[in-house]
Each structure stands twice: as C-alpha cells, then as structure tokens.
C-alpha cells in the first residue's frame, strides 16, 4: 500500500518568508480576557494564606489529607470531611533549576521550581519555589520551611509565601 506513496506533502516556510510578505498571512490579536473564580476550596485556601496558614482537606474514607484543598475526594468520589491546618514546612519531593521565564526568554538568576510535600500529608505536594540557597545545594528529601511576606504585604495569594528555604540542622 505504501508503495503507492511517492511523495509526502508539506511546503516549509521560514520566518523571513512571513515577515517579508513572500507568503500572504494575516494576524489576529484576541481581545479575550478572563475572570477566573477561585471556587469554595481555593477561596478558603487563599484566605488562610493571608493568615500565614496552609490548610488542607481530609477524607475519612481513604484517610488522605490533600493540598491544594478541594471539597471532594477524587479517589473516593465523595465530599471530603474536614479542614486541617497544616505545618508550613515540608520536604523536597522533586525540584528543577529554571533558566527561562514564562515566555521562554532567558533569566539571569535561575529559579528553583519545586514540588514540596507538606509535613503531615502523604501525597500532598504543592508547587512553589525554593529560595535563599545555591541551586547546587538543593537535595531530594531536603527539609524546607515557608518564608512568608509581612502581614501587611499579604493579599491572599500563593505568593504570600515568598519561597521555601532549607532548614539547617
């Protein structure tokens, strides 16, 4: 069957072909803006961050405490049962060292995106940054502690935690 295929289609273009108008094109800048709603669980999560607290939700059926919190347990498919105030410390589950920004341009000072497993939970990790350390010194399993903004600076956002820093023994 494939013996019948003689040529594969596709006309490659270079960026200059488009910029110089060698090939016709038309642009579109969508004006759509969005207003995203936090919802019940995240609404409370953010409000507690303003109070310098990390909260999770616990399911009695499977026993998990999850963060970021949600009002239902997706494993058991039932509403979960209570809010739990968690410690603001945890352990590095996995980390990386980023040299690029959100728009793929290079940044001078690398960031350390990390999944931090919050103390007192089994599966619950949150995404955040590790700071106040040389990226080369970060280790899997390292203990870290949240560094909060000052009370008057906190707005009820994940950035109310500036970053997590390693706890020295």
């Amino acid at each position: 069957m494939s013996i019948k295929i003689k040529e594969y289609a596709g006309t490659p273009l270079r960026e200059e072909d488009l910029k110089q108008g060698k090939v016709l094109s038309i642009g579109y800048w969508p004006k759509a803006k969005y207003n995203w709603s936090a919802g019940v669980a995240i609404g409370r999560y953010l409000a507690e961050l303003k109070n310098a607290r990390i909260v999770g939700r616990q399911c009695d059926k499977c026993g998990r405490t999850v963060v970021p919190p949600r009002m239902f347990c997706e494993w058991c498919f039932r509403p979960n049962d209570r809010w739990v105030i968690l410690k603001d410390s945890g352990v590095v589950n996995t980390y990386s060292i980023s040299h690029i920004a959100a728009d793929a341009t290079r940044i001078k000072k690398p960031l350390i995106p990390t999944v931090i497993q919050i103390d007192g939970t089994t599966d619950a990790g949150i995404l955040h940054l590790v700071g106040e350390t040389d990226p080369k010194k970060v280790k899997f399993g390292m203990k870290v502690q949240a560094v909060w903004k000052r009370p008057e600076e906190r707005t009820g956002a994940i950035t109310d935690i500036r970053y997590f820093r390693p706890i020295e023994r």
Binding site: T11, L13, L18, G21, V23, L24, S25, I26, G27, Y28, W29, P30, A32, K33, Y34, N35, W36, S37, A38, G39, V40, I42, G43, L46, A47, D103, G156
Partner: protein, 147 residues
C-alpha cells in the same frame, strides 16, 4: 469569593495556504477573482481550494470569474464587532459571482435610492493597485450594476 483576571498571552498569524495564496495574489496583482473547477461534481468553487469537499478529488483547474454577480442573501448590520452602534448600517451580502456555484461574503455600498433585494445585480469595486495588499478587502465593496 476571590477572582483573578488574566488572559492567554498569545496572538496568531495565519497563512493564506496554498490555494489562498494564489487567490489573493491574483486579486492584488490583476484585480481578478479566480475560482477552481471540479469536473466530477460539475461545480466551480470560490474561494478556491486545493480539494473538492464533496468528492474529495484534488483540484487544479483554475478559472477566471466575472466580477459581477447576484445577491443570494443579505443583511443590514447596525453594530460593529465590539457592539458599538454604527453611524450608517452596513449591508453584508452573500454574492454569487457569474460562473461560480458558491457565494462569497462581502459589503454592498452605494445603493443610493434602490432597494437591496435578493437577485440584485452587483459588481466588485477594486481599490487602486497601489493600495491592494492581497486581501479580500482589496475589493472595497460591491455596488449595484445595471447591465
């Protein structure tokens, strides 16, 4: 309850495509509207495509169409794309050019004291060559036309 505002930080650049490139270039260079013929379906498609959607055959027989045709349907538009009221209503119509089996959409202007109606004869008014860029707006509008 908390909200956050934001957007998706993207814009888009669309190529005209293989068929679109030829169609728009002909309008730009020569003020001519091309269609493409499908012999199997006995139809002329406009805007032209590299394939016939009905019989799925590859098409290559390009043909020049007249710049005149008849209105198949039309509407009067009182608002712009952002919802602001227009000073003068804009007439948009699906126009079947002579020689084609399909209509194209465009503006109709300069109707003066005539009544726009289905079946009305209109013809394309092209911009001057120096103002044409390779766009359907190289046709400024269609206007009524008496044979």
């Amino acid at each position: 309850m908390k909200h956050v505002k934001g957007k998706m930080p993207v814009n888009f650049l669309y190529t005209a495509g293989v068929a679109g490139e030829r169609f728009l270039r002909e309008i730009k260079e020569n003020a001519k509207i091309l269609g493409v013929r499908c012999r199997k379906c006995d139809m002329v498609h406009v805007p032209p495509k590299i394939y016939c959607e009905r019989c799925f055959e590859r098409l290559g027989e390009w043909t020049e169409l007249a710049s005149e045709g008849q209105i198949e349907t039309f509407t009067m538009c009182y608002f712009d794309a952002d919802g602001n009221r227009l000073a003068e209503p804009e007439i948009l119509a699906v126009i079947r050019l002579e020689g084609a089996n399909e209509g194209i959409i465009h503006r109709v202007r300069k109707i003066r004291d005539q009544q726009v109606h289905v079946g009305m004869e209109v013809k394309a008014v092209f911009r001057e060559k120096k103002d044409r860029v390779g766009s359907v707006l190289d046709i400024a509008y269609f206007e009524p036309f008496a044979r």
